[in-house]
Amino acid sequence: MIEIHEGEAVIAELRRHWFVFVAQAAFLVAFVAAPVLAVFLLEQLAGFVLDPNHEALVIFFSAAWLLLSWIIFFIMWTNFYLDAWFVTDQRIVDIEQWGLFNRQVSECRLDRIQDVTVDVDGIVPTALRFGDVHVQTAGEAREFLLGNVPDPYAVKDIIFRAQDAALRRARNADESLETGH
């Protein structure tokens, strides 16, 4: 969870496109199906026959294999879900979740953003409308990367609009200070 400052509002909560998760999950489906395929191939090619008296053994190993896949699936989902970006009316918060024990949270103020680049690369990202949004900040070498976000052009517009509003607020505050009102 991110800590919201007083008077701050979250404009957008972003995550990677669902296709990225589905592509990862497809590998897991192959992982689950591998033993079934192996037994089938052994039966066909090497004449291996599964002993019908050992049904309990088959259930035991199948359940163990499924349990392993189940755990891996939820670790993948947690990584996907906790890897998020928040655009507020003051800053962008970038939360990077790598595995279960590596988490990085960084943020940049909207008034420090210099330029925003959208990168949609490939057939699938073009068809499903997702891509990378690169946010370059002033005075720092660091670049914020919002990877594989849905509708990156809309995200770019959201960031620019939020930045305009933040700059306008800062200007008004400066003028108020100068005039003493």
């Binding site: 969870m1 050992h54 053994l57 259930i59 035991f60 349990l67 670790i75």
Partner: protein, 71 residues
């Protein structure tokens, strides 16, 4: 190949214990993440319920099949 006898039963028992420990360990860490960083409490609660139901069902299947194999 004949997979039976006390050695096979011991192997299955060790595997079952390892699966139980693995599930408990990963559950603890996942639960910590979900409780600490869960942004959407409703969605997290649903996923948590599915995770525990599925995991317990598979552990039960392992345990029962072990008992059938090695009564």
């Amino acid at each position: 190949m004949n997979f039976s006898g006390p050695l096979a039963e011991s192997i299955l028992l060790i595997l079952f214990a390892a699966a139980l420990a693995c599930f408990a360990g990963v559950s603890y860490v996942l639960d910590y993440h979900w409780r600490t960083y869960g942004f959407d409490a409703g969605k997290i609660r649903t996923m948590r319920t599915i995770y525990y139901l599925g995991g317990c069902f598979l552990l039960l299947a392992m345990g029962l099949s072990y008992l059938v194999y090695a009564p």
